[in-house]
């Protein structure tokens, strides 16, 4: 079935309490603006300090991932560095969902990596985190592959992801993680 961005947005936004939503070009200014919004949001919500900091951490890490890795929108609109993120509550759980276009040649690598990380126990994730922290050179795009591992380490959750083929050059990448339970 053909991927239609508007339909996907309707699906991810359905039946949730929306706390924060963005769809468009991810610039450094957008990152800064939304960091401030998350902070102000976290002050209004009554969250445990652990969940509050985890929400800040996972959301910032994911938005910065979009900033570093998003492609231009491949449709006629050609919006630059296009990304979507949604922070929401469903059934008393706090979720972060992101979406971005990805070149096909990155899909297999990313899919394999995510599947591999999801197959590991938390203790193994913690070991790998330290090995990569201590071993890999920092890429100019970020943490040398630490971001996803750190999200699993902090949330103690498996990652949920899906790739929607767009054409022979691009796919759309959906990423979702449960940050934690409210009232925890």
């Amino acid at each position: 079935m053909e991927f239609v961005l508007e339909d996907w947005l309707n699906i991810i936004r359905k039946d949730q309490k929306e706390l924060l939503f963005f769809s468009g070009t991810i610039t450094s200014d957008v990152v800064t603006e939304y960091i401030e919004k998350i902070e102000s949001l976290s002050q209004k919500m009554t969250l445990s300090r652990t969940i509050e900091k985890r929400m800040m951490h996972v959301t910032i890490e994911s938005i910065q991932n979009l900033y570093h890795h998003s492609c231009n929108e491949p449709s006629d609109k050609k919006m630059k560095k296009f990304g979507v993120f949604l922070l929401s509550i469903k059934e008393n759980n706090l979720f972060l969902t992101t979406g971005n276009y990805l070149k096909q040649d990155s899909v297999l690598f990313l899919k394999n990596r995510l599947e591999q990380l999801n197959s590991l126990e938390l203790e193994e994730i913690k070991k790998i985190y330290k090995i990569i922290l201590n071993g890999t050179q920092l890429s100019n795009k970020g943490g040398g592959g630490l971001g996803m591992i750190d999200i699993i380490k902090k949330t103690k959750q498996k990652l949920s992801f899906h790739f929607y083929p767009i054409n022979d050059r691009y796919s759309f990448y959906e990423f979702k993680v449960k940050i934690g339970e409210l009232g925890q």
Binding site: T32, S48, R49, T50, K53, Q64, K130, L138, G147
Partner: protein
Amino acid sequence: MKEIKIDGTAKTPSVHFIDDGQLHLKGRSIPENSIEFYKPLVDWLDEYGNGPQAKTEVHVQLEYFNTSSSKCILDLFKKLESISKQGHDVIIKWYYEEDDEDMLEAGEDYQSIISVPFEMIETEV
């Protein structure tokens, strides 16, 4: 040696490195380009390592940091490790807010990688 004094921003920590051996890093560290921010600090420690104080105390009090900063913070600690290996006294004081188990664990991760004494200090919110 010239001191480094940088005010904190929404994305970067405040820094105060003085060659009397008292080094402070405080706030949040979530810049998009961490290398740009941390390179002068790593360079400063490199130079400081040529004639360090008998005792160097490093106070790290971070609210949160992104993964690209985590690598740069390790680079700072590796410089401190080489000062320590030269026989100088170095201690890293790692502050974390009470109930912030993630920040405590982050400090313990560094402690297991770096051969420098760490002191974990819980602070009240």
